[in-house]
Amino acid sequence: MAKTISFLQAINEAMAEEMRRDSSVFVLGEDVRIGPFGQTAGLVKEFGEERVLNTPIAENAITGVAMGAAMNGGRPVLELMFCDFTMLAMDQICNHLGQWRYITGNQYAVPITIRTAVGAGFRMAYGHSQCLESQLLQAPGLILVEPSTPHDAKGLLKSAIRSDDPVVFFEHKKLILGGVEGEAPEEEYTIPFGEAVIRKEGKDVTVVAFGFMVYEALNAAQELAQEDIDIEVIDPRTIVPLDQDTIFESVEKTGRLVTVEEGRIRGGLGAEMAALACGDYFSLLKAPVQRIAAPMVPIPGSPVLEDLYLPNKDSIVRAVKRTL
């Protein structure tokens, strides 16, 4: 049985279901009792203030608190309101969180889920609009997830909460706040990490996009179809681990790769995919890999400039054509 849920609801249900299932799961963050964007709204009613904990404004420390709780039997779901604020917690996330299991020789796992909102388009300027997923590529030991549909958001967040590895879970504001809806099973389900989905099959060019950019890529596909260009759109869903098999099976077919991300280009996931492409998969390539991403500039507050800054359907269309 399927039902229609919004992206926001999907996140909310995933947390609620896991809190019901496992009493060691709890939610903490700044204003999570109300929910600045609404993902955690209502949880306090069902689970009480003890399991839905408002914290002071101190991102590095609350990340550490979640980590400490996880070392001692808790399974915290931490909300860092904007991904921009994960930069405050980079010491915890990059130096410790993903490394703790290893340096303690597997004595201590740190099963926490960090949920954080990414994305521009709301005229919030430089420090509330970034997509910083790729800032975490260099860190070992983390799982990085970014869903594009309510179905995936729910299934992947449930997997994240159950995971014994630390997960950073990115939620695009346009999906949370935009009222995006979709089908999801009534029944309990989870989605494993590392399995991409082909959102649209196609034979000419492989386009890999995640999060909100999946929709821009699908729009590009429609537009390109009118010129008889048939692209395949792949949504990796998890950034780490990355489903190389699905991506490069597609490239084997098309010989062409366009990577799409809303984050900045230098050292981004697109760079990593391009590097994989021209490394192990070099023989598959028939054309230069095209990277679509934001330029290496801060996000300006001006609506006009913000729109110019963002990758979108049009830049994807142009990139696809460059590969042909």
Partner: protein, 323 residues
């Protein structure tokens, strides 16, 4: 603690201007004419204006996200604010900062997006003032919620350790986003933390502009005279919601009622009238003039030039080629 007539009148006018700017912002939002997020400082004007008031032009101010009080107090104009707010090429930040107000003319080095990241900037500007032996003071204006941010601590420590000319002005408006302060604080007051660094502090009423001005003036002179940092905590109440998207149900109506009776503009107006400085008629004129100032600033801003794609790549580095 009473101020000269002219001074008090000027502060009153500035409070009116601040409220007019913010109310206009609210109206434009409601009418769907702009998307610009708002965090209004309604009810807190006596803190913001009182805190910035005693600063000299060469003094440095770090302000907050909540409204425009301290920016107006330090000398920014409604016109400059609106040009920037609307992201115009002719804005102070060329439309790139928008809400992150910054004005070098009056020594406002900008507004950070991550709360508390600028705690240490204020220590840094004060450090360089001390190193270059000017008598410039830095005032760091901050909400109580932000005072829990980690960097508050080493910043205050360094300010005290190096005896720097910086004043920490804490605006305790009872809220941190959608929660009362007591969900963030184990204590009633913020200011007592200063004692941990051997830093002097005061805790004062934030509704009376004469109090806020005078106490801040004292703290600034303390800092200017080489006696090191000072912390002042102003008790006030956020009559506005946190921002335009705030559900607001958590605010107790009795609090709104209680604090509403001590609106800083009303209090000041009464003082001015009681002292015979202001007539009802003059007051109406003043309020009208202020609204006109705001309206024409907004109008000019709306018709200002937008930046273009070239501007997107300007100002990342000193030289453009680096990108």
């Amino acid at each position: 603690m009473s101020l000269e007539n002219e001074k008090l009148l000027e502060l009153y006018r500035k409070m009116l201007l601040v409220r007019a700017i913010e109310q206009t912002h609210g109206k434009l939002l409601q009418e769907g004419k702009i998307q610009l997020m708002s965090h209004f400082g309604t009810g807190q004007e006596a803190v913001a204006i009182g805190v910035a008031g005693p600063l000299r032009q060469e003094d440095i101010l770090f302000g907050t996200h909540r409204g425009v009080g301290e920016y107006i107090g330090k000398g920014m104009t409604a016109k400059d604010i609106w040009l920037e707010y609307l992201g115009k090429k002719t804005g102070l930040c060329k439309g790139k900062g928008t809400l992150h107000l910054c004005d070098r003319k009056v020594n406002i080095p900008g507004l950070v997006s991550s709360l508390g990241s600028d705690f240490s900037y204020a220590v840094g500007t004060a450090l360089s003032a001390k190193m270059s032996k000017t008598d410039q003071v830095t005032l760091y204006f901050v909400g109580e919620g932000t005072c829990n941010q980690a960097d508050a601590h080493p910043s205050m420590c360094m300010a005290a350790l190096w005896k720097l000319p910086v004043v920490f002005a804490v605006c305790t408006n009872q809220f941190c986003e959608f929660a009362y302060m007591d969900e963030h604080y184990p204590t009633e007051d913020v200011a007592i933390r200063a004692a941990g660094y051997g830093m002097p502090y005061d805790i004062v009423d934030g509704q009376d502009i004469e109090t806020t001005y005078k106490v801040t003036e004292k703290a600034i002179e303390h800092a200017r005279n080489g006696k090191g940092p000072y912390l002042v905590e102003y008790k006030t109440f956020r009559m506005a919601l946190h921002h335009s998207g705030d559900p607001g149900e958590y605010v107790k109506s009795e609090d709104l009622e209680k604090w509403g009776k001590r609106d800083p503009i009303d209090l000041c107006q009464k003082k001015l009238q009681d002292r015979g400085i202001l007539t009802g008629e003059r007051d109406q004129e003043l309020r009208k003039a202020v609204q006109t100032e705001v309206d024409s600033a907004v109008e000019e801003a709306f018709s200002g030039p937008d930046p273009t794609v070239d501007d997107l790549f300007e100002d990342v580095y000193a030289q453009k080629e680096v990108i």
